[in-house]
């Protein structure tokens, strides 16, 4: 059985936090450039150019792309033949987030409880951790800092089968219209279909932080991704909501088998700073 040191996990998470917050992923950067070339609105083109300049400055100065460096959302894929030693997995991840956000001058945006004192925890912990067990003896960590401007506009609707694809379209369109300029378009829209309530939401989050070059492997769902993107880009919202044809860069759909009576739809909105970084230990 392969051993993985807890300290190595903390180190990797700290590095991922800084990398994700300060370096716009290349796939997102290229997508901004491609959309700028097609954008008919002069104001829209100007904003897309500014977002690329912003990414250049952030990378050069090791400064966050956006001041809202989010809650740290971490997807962990733990190989079933791996054994973590020298500490526990959750604590090691929280420690990595603490180091990344404190030492990396990232903003601490986490409050200790949601309703009463709302006191800032001061180190951006705890992280939001999703663990799944996979074959093999490796450990895959995918960190996505998630800001509130986009997260707050996410939606979950429990449709029924008769609502069908038209119902799905309407939920996605309504979510994007409600988000408007607030979620910093151009967006990356993650759609989760099926499962139960929380599985739909997790699918949507996974979809929102997928690489932009990726497509759903099922051609029917890949076609749905294209169709929803086309629909969203006909809203006119445009970059920053000031008008144009680039309201979203991509739509990603993830799905899970569901109940005979259910069609859950979750929409997780990501802003143009669609940050994600991955490490394999």
């Amino acid at each position: 059985m392969r051993e993985i040191q807890a300290e190595a996990i903390s180190k990797a998470v700290a590095e991922l936090a800084v990398r994700a917050c300060c370096h716009l992923p290349q796939d997102v950067y290229e997508s901004l450039g491609a959309r700028r070339a097609q954008e008919p609105s002069p104001a829209g083109r100007n904003i897309l150019a500014q977002l690329m300049d912003n990414a250049d400055i952030a990378a050069r100065e090791q400064m966050p792309i956006c001041q809202d460096t989010g809650l740290a959302v971490i997807f962990v894929e733990l190989g079933q033949d791996a054994h973590i030693v020298g500490g526990d997995l959750n604590a090691a991840i929280h420690e990595g987030v603490r180091r990344g956000y404190v030492d990396g001058c990232l903003r601490k945006s986490c409050v200790a409880e949601p309703l009463f004192e709302r006191a800032n925890t001061g180190d951006n912990t705890p992280a939001v951790i999703h663990v799944s067990v996979a074959p093999g003896d490796g450990l895959r960590l995918r960190l996505a800092p998630k800001g509130a401007g986009s997260e707050n506009k996410s939606v979950l609707k429990m449709l029924t089968p008769a609502d069908g694809i038209e119902g799905v379209r309407q939920v996605v369109l309504d979510a994007v219209l409600a988000a408007g300029p607030n979620s910093c378009p151009p967006l990356v829209v993650g759609v989760g279909l099926g499962g139960d309530m929380e599985m739909a939401a997790i699918c949507a989050k996974k979809a929102a932080v997928r690489d932009l070059g990726s497509r759903n492997p099922d051609p029917r769902y890949a076609a749905l991704e294209d169709e929803l993107l086309e629909l969203i880009n006909r809203t006119g919202i445009g970059p920053q909501g000031l008008g144009g044809e680039t309201t979203a860069l991509k739509v990603h759909v993830e799905w899970y088998p569901t109940h005979i009576a259910s069609l859950p739809v979750a929409v997780n909105i990501n802003c143009h700073a669609a940050r994600h970084a991955e490490a394999i230990l």
């Binding site: 104001a43 400055i57 400064m63 001041q67 460096t69 990232l106 300029p181 006119g236 920053q240 008008g243």
Partner: protein, 193 residues
């Protein structure tokens, strides 16, 4: 409306506030005030108790921002705008105190727009998520009140050529609506926001 940026200075006087038209591109120099959710809540609670505010809002331009920490040698970290709508519940009270301009991102409620028209106050949009770019326009950051709120403290920011677009002017003209309309192609299903 002018796409050639106009240079203006902050704080705003009445004439400056009313001269800005929806869609105007501006570069702001001078001093603006940083405040967001928790600071707005505290200021309105202070007013409810009949107390003085810790800062004079007359003529002030408030920027909805919660910057990331400065590294050594920097005035400030990334400092882009946050969503203005979360301040809507508190905004009319602050406009009553003489606030003359607001910078943020996103839609405002009709109640806020009515209060803006009453007081002759424009709302400007900065580019959301361009925190590193905007950081370079902020030359000095000085916490004035509520230091315990960390990134949410009330602070004075000295800015040079801070870029913004007039989103809603003092007459209530809305550039989000004007800018989006020509590109909206939803056909029968069009229902705007």
């Amino acid at each position: 409306m002018s796409e050639q940026p106009m240079r203006i200075s902050a704080p705003f006087d009445d004439a400056t506030a009313r001269a800005l038209k929806a869609g105007d591109h501006v570069l702001i120099s001078g001093t603006i005030l940083a405040a967001r959710d928790a600071a707005h809540k505290r200021m309105v609670e202070a007013l409810d108790r009949g107390e003085e505010l810790p800062v004079d809002l007359r003529g002030a331009v408030v920027y909805y921002v919660g910057p990331s920490p400065a590294k050594p040698g920097q005035a400030i970290g990334a400092a882009g705008p946050t969503t203005a709508g979360r301040m809507d519940a508190y905004t009319p009270r602050l406009l009553d105190q003489g606030l003359k301009g607001m910078i943020g991102k996103g839609y405002r409620t009709p109640e806020v727009v009515d209060a803006m028209k009453k007081h002759g106050v424009p709302y400007l949009a900065a580019v959301g998520g361009a925190g590193a770019l905007i950081s370079g326009c902020i030359k000095k950051y000085t916490v004035l009140a509520y230091a315990d709120l960390g990134p949410e403290a009330v602070a004075a920011m000295e800015v040079e050529d801070f870029p913004a677009i007039v989103a809603i002017d003092a007459e209530g003209n809305d550039y989000y609506e004007q800018g989006q309309a020509p590109y909206r192609r939803l056909g029968e299903t069009a229902h705007g926001r």
